[in-house]
């Protein structure tokens, strides 16, 4: 392509800006980690309480050496992914059902509002009694948290789908099913995608809280255990791993969204 000088300069400026932002982001991380490590070495604070990057690394190494790192990560990941898939799956299904049956939707509306406002974590002890102190309760907790928010978000997307487009479908002689498949569902995709993004985060919350309450393994368990025996290195290490995993999973969903938006 042949651009004018001004346009080429403009494009260069955009690229430079992008690079600068990226570089600064890395710098912020390096600076924080550096200060943390430096402070630990120079004795600005008690490493027993605040740990340090090198101690976190060696804690991770130790977990790896014991062979338990993958087990803990695996358990937590499994619970989160199950909670996420079931929660969003059932949530979308419920939204479809409520769209299809406006009367039921109207009846259920206040209940949905209350359920949405309720901190589902409060149900933790109840779940343990009902389901037992194990993985089941943890997954159900994650499902509960992501399900309600998914239903509410997706349903609002469905009902927002232009009334006029639905009228158009009627003039073309479409059935309700056809209108749903050809207009309402595709029009709801952006809402579904933002529901997925919210739901991913919610599943993590549900799983970690669940693990705090009941589990014998998983990152949430490691955090609680580390706190109890004052191994802050272990706590910090688990949190760091959690950060990375959560970011990866969010990234995967964002990627999915990009593909759908095309």
């Amino acid at each position: 392509m042949n651009y004018s000088k001004e346009h080429a300069a403009y494009l260069r400026a955009i690229r430079t800006h992008g690079w600068t932002v990226g570089l600064c982001r890395v710098l912020v991380l390096v600076l924080l980690l550096g200060l943390w490590e430096l402070g630990a070495r120079l004795g600005w604070f008690d490493v027993f309480i605040l740990s340090s990057p090198s101690r976190v690394l060696s804690a991770i190494g130790r977990l790896w050496g014991e062979g338990s790192l993958l087990i803990h990560v695996g358990v937590t990941l499994y619970e989160t992914i199950m909670g996420f898939l079931l929660g969003t799956g059932l949530g979308i299904l419920l939204a479809v059902l409520l769209w299809w049956l406006p009367f039921v939707n109207e009846v259920m509306d206040p209940y949905l509002v209350v359920l949405n406002a309720l901190p589902k974590i409060a149900l933790g002890p109840v779940l343990i009694v009902w389901i037992g102190a194990g993985m089941g309760s943890i997954i159900v907790m994650a499902v509960l948290i992501s399900l309600v928010v998914t239903t509410v978000t997706v349903l609002s997307g469905f009902t927002a789908a232009a009334a006029e487009k639905q009228f158009l479908m009627r003039t073309l002689g479409a059935s309700k099913g056809q209108t749903f498949v050809k207009v309402v569902l595709p029009a709801g995709v952006p809402h579904m995608m933002s529901a997925l993004k919210i739901s991913v985060g919610m599943s993590w919350v549900g799983v970690i809280v669940g693990e705090y309450l009941v589990s014998k393994s998983g990152l949430g368990y490691l955090i609680v255990y580390g706190g109890q025996v004052f191994k802050l290195d272990l706590v910090m290490a688990s949190v760091v791993i959690l950060c990375v995993l959560a970011a990866l999973m969010y990234g995967a969903v964002a990627l999915l969204e990009k593909r759908f938006r095309k």
Partner: protein, 248 residues
């Protein structure tokens, strides 16, 4: 009465809302002959859209009846906004009705693509609606209804969302498409100029509840386009007459 394609007889329509009862159409009677281009003008909110969905069979009349003396009459509806689906290409949008009615065959698809090409959209078959101008989009919406090969077209203020220039050009194009495809048309508008430049006959509606105030038969020489009609003294006269009628 026998030759009419559509016959509306003593029709009234009431809307019921918690605030009360609205009479939208009162004792309305008129007919549309096969091949005719009839325009309905009336102030906004007088009950024109109500009348169209009545004819389309989407709402029943409260009183009176709508009949088709020559037998069932397949109809196509064109709305004010094109309502093209943004996630479908132009071609996929045009065949939406065929899909819905399970009439999509190699033949019907080819015919629809043929229409798109014939009326100047051939280069945009795989474009998305957002890549097209307002006029093109509305033309695509017309072809979406034509794809189902209706006998009569119901046009509900199809140009009022467009800018003035596009409105005039598109009215010209739509007029020639309807003529070439040999369709009967019932155009609803609040734009007197639009009605007077396109139709063979204009029905003037009163304020709500809509009643038929007057009928004006337009006697332009055959074969004049809407744009050409706009330049004639007859256009001015009809315009003034209908304007006065609406003022009263």
């Amino acid at each position: 009465m026998e030759g009419a394609l559509l016959s509306v007889e003593n029709v009234s329509v009431y809307y019921h809302t918690p605030q009360g009862e609205t009479e939208a159409v009162r004792d309305l009677s008129f007919q549309v002959q096969k091949g005719e281009f009839v325009a309905v003008v009336g102030p906004s909110g007088c009950g024109k859209t109500t009348m169209l969905s009545l004819i389309m069979g989407l709402n029943p009349p409260s009183k009176g009846q709508v009949s088709f003396p020559q037998g069932p009459c397949p109809m196509g509806y064109m709305l004010q906004r094109d309502n093209l689906l943004e996630w479908r290409t132009l071609e996929k949008n045009a065949i939406l009705g065929l899909e819905v009615q399970h009439k999509l065959t190699e033949e019907s698809r080819a015919k629809t693509v043929g229409l798109l090409k014939k009326y100047g959209l051939g280069d945009f078959l795989s474009h998305y609606p957002s890549q097209l101008s307002g006029g093109m989009r509305q033309k695509a919406a017309l072809i979406r209804t034509l794809a189902l090969d209706p006998e009569m077209l119901l046009l509900d203020e199809p140009f009022s969302a467009l800018d003035y220039q596009t409105r005039l050009t598109l009215a010209n194009e739509v007029f020639s498409i309807i003529r070439q495809e040999g369709k009967t048309a019932l155009l609803v508008t609040h734009d007197i100029g639009e009605a007077v430049s396109m139709a063979d006959r204009v029905l003037v509606f009163s304020d709500r509840p809509a009643t038929l105030k007057r009928e004006v038969v337009l006697d332009y020489p055959r074969g004049m386009t809407p744009l050409e009609r706009r330049g004639t003294p007859a256009f001015q006269d009809h315009f003034a007459a209908i304007w006065k009628e609406l003022e009263r």
